[in-house]
Symmetry: C2
Subunit: 546 residues, 2 copies
Amino acid sequence: MAKTRKQPRPKAETPKGFRDYFGAEVTQRAEMLNVIAAVYHRYGFDALESSAVETVEALGKFLPDVDRPNEGVFAWQEEDAAWLALRYDLTAPLARVYAQHRNDLPIPYRRYAMGPVWRNEKPGPGRFRQFYQCDADTVGSASMAADAEICAMLSDTLEAVGIARGDYVIRINNRKVLNGVMEVAGVLDPSDPEKFAHERGIVLRAIDKLDRLGPEGVRALLGKGREDESGDFTKGAGLGEDQVEVVLSFVLGKERIAEQLASIAEPAGKLNADWEAKYRSISETIEVGDRKSLSVDNQEFTNRLTCTYLRSIVDNSVVGAEGVAELEQIADLLAAQGYGPDRIVIDPSVVRGLGYYTGPVYEAELTFEIFDDKGRKRQFGSVAGGGRYDDLVKRFTGQAVPATGVSIGVDRLLAALREKGRITAQEIGPVVVTVMDRDRMADYQAMVAELRNAGVRAEVYLGNPKNFGNQLKYADRRNSPVAIIEGGDEKARGVVQIKDLILGAQIAQNATLEEWKERPSQFEVARGDLVAKVREILVAHDLGQA
Amino acid sequence: MAKTRKQPRPKAETPKGFRDYFGAEVTQRAEMLNVIAAVYHRYGFDALESSAVETVEALGKFLPDVDRPNEGVFAWQEEDAAWLALRYDLTAPLARVYAQHRNDLPIPYRRYAMGPVWRNEKPGPGRFRQFYQCDADTVGSASMAADAEICAMLSDTLEAVGIARGDYVIRINNRKVLNGVMEVAGVLDPSDPEKFAHERGIVLRAIDKLDRLGPEGVRALLGKGREDESGDFTKGAGLGEDQVEVVLSFVLGKERIAEQLASIAEPAGKLNADWEAKYRSISETIEVGDRKSLSVDNQEFTNRLTCTYLRSIVDNSVVGAEGVAELEQIADLLAAQGYGPDRIVIDPSVVRGLGYYTGPVYEAELTFEIFDDKGRKRQFGSVAGGGRYDDLVKRFTGQAVPATGVSIGVDRLLAALREKGRITAQEIGPVVVTVMDRDRMADYQAMVAELRNAGVRAEVYLGNPKNFGNQLKYADRRNSPVAIIEGGDEKARGVVQIKDLILGAQIAQNATLEEWKERPSQFEVARGDLVAKVREILVAHDLGQA
């Protein structure tokens, strides 16, 4: 109670780039995380919740000579001079946790984690500086079975949260195949890995733009460069025509299979005459975005076909061939578990931005169409991604530890379900017991207690009860299905009035005057029948159990 | 792939005062939060998740002339000069949210929130700088029904998470009664509220120490001062004997009721002859910590009795009498809903530390005994607390907005359930399919896929399969109930081996050699019976559904 100086009033605002989440936005996310956690758990993954705060040193994204290590993260210096920061993803903390606790953890260590992460980036429309991730990783296994398992689990997860089969596809590529392509195209020299780094950067960015620019745009960026519609010129990687062709062959794998297959005189690997005949028949049905047209019989061959095609491109690169062999293993393991290319497909156009991937990379894409801000149709796009990163723990321990994992963008996935109408943003509110007589608050409290004990969401109006209209307005704003009224007259007669607000709203919108009279939305029942009648109304509106 | 300079390896450590949570620690907390959210929801409270980051200005705990506002919070300055901080509780953000969104929110606004909060305090044993809170508040209602509702809900919540009735009590006091006592004791002058502020601080701290120091210790601190066992002297509030007696009468309410009741010649309020007779009979049965001995008939009178007693102390203070009237209202409302003093009791010794409370204050205490670090028995203590704070929103809007709410210490509540043995920290692991032949990984993956599709938590061993002993050690570390083995021989014969690891461990601990032979813990079944047999074993150990 010490005297305080007058201060200007603080602004009631979230910091720039942050937001609050209300009601259904919170509960729907919580339910989704519960569903995802159940799938991860069934796959043998254990929960991990690391602290939101890490030492900047452990996050390890920063250069030691930067005065303040706040590029991309929220960081601050403690009184003891240590720099701390909010985690920017769940993978960097996993590497720290594994290095710190590796003597106590089962190895391989399968873990899942879910929670907010923070990015100190420029906020934009729909881009926030705090958002949820939901990750699953297997640390300590070099087996391709670990990668295949994550992809299968991702497929199960998407279906569990309500994305129908056919509305998504998980696409797999391999960073080693990409490196093989770079080698064959002459922009990677295994004896001098740093050489051509600049060119490779341009090549990677060009591949990543395939969706947006199309094959000819990518071709231009791989060669001399590209002038966009506004006349701006982006300098290209400067590759020769043959080099460009190698990269494009790789990226456009699916489209090229049909044309190229005939020219593979002696396909490498396991092709035999029998298979080749099947490939030929399949190749005619393969089109990007049209995987549903594949019959089940053909599906197991599609991923193998892609592998065979990729081998034809990178067979002269040791690392490239290794990458193809890994993809073949993954395809076989998935086929054994019944995951065909209608769900999980090998697709060379997947690049994934993060530099730390060292083997298979994968991403989940929703294939249904939505309308963007400008009313144009487009595919919903990526909702999850991941891959193998064998060097992340090494930073701490000096020893390479193989690891692979996936991160689901929970908020994007929720947005997708809302777009599809699978969940609605508005929540049904509680039954509202109105207050007709403020001295009888105890009576009204007894009513809500009965309703709640029967499992019905209910509350007494706690505002100023003087204006009854305000109470009904409140019930409306709460999206309440039912309002209860007990005035002095009702009390004396041992009855209550029950207003069906949903029916009332329907009648108000649609009914003629005759119908209005015939279908009353307000019922008088004996006080003892209150709970039964309310439940009857809720059941009639599909909002409760009988 | 840019060249990086050699750097020293980062330390794999959580920052000081932070920790990681593994497996059951995470899932049990998540389950508890789900249970709590369900109760809050049933009471009509809506979910709110505000951002973890707030402007320092909005949190508003700081003086403007402090160079760096990091006392108690983690704060940092952005490039645009704004100071941001991690929230230290969920109440300050609620005030900001309400002020920011008040035109779009239903009023009164009932909301719940759950999540981590951060305190930049010196960490100690069991005290961490990140921990969970779980709050429910009603903003915009001055009605005592709002406070009563929160207490009833808190009672329901504790029972829903597994605290049996009788193992907890919710104690209610009122800051206004306390102020009335101060006034009567002569250390609060309504016409000059700042006077005696120093003395009142000492009085409040003294009352809060009743549990630890006992009545005589408090008496000393209210008077000249107290010398502790080590000889250190703490200066007291300097109250005279009569003043000390007023404060002690208040604090020791329960104990004094029996002695004092006789001296209340004409009790204020609603006492009549009939009631007084009942009070007299009840008064003899009341002892602190012995509320269970009250018969149900007597319970509704106990809280009223306390109110009558309190009125006898503070009746000369306007604010004190107002506080007693509020407590009476709460007691009546709770009685109407069936919450007697076996669950919720009016208790004058509750102070609550936070300065911002303005009316009723309440806390939930677990009454069962545990052993502390030194092997001494003590009550588990407080797990939740809250009260009415009518001035928090005013900081932003200039208008006082009445509000009341509770915060549950989720981690303490979890610790209590573990102490009581209601939940165990160790989780049952997945069924582990071992790898006898690494070329048949696809076969093993097919097995786990079958198990998972049947709802059984299962995984393939993904480490190096060369050493079979390591695989069983892994299953042991995972706390797996069952291991599956299929070598080349089994494959050829169309069977699998199923090891019941729980039974195996039991036999290894207890059985004689004869029993060992009679009760094999390993079974050979046809490959097609794999899932059925595993489920049979899980059901036998009470770990699954038939």
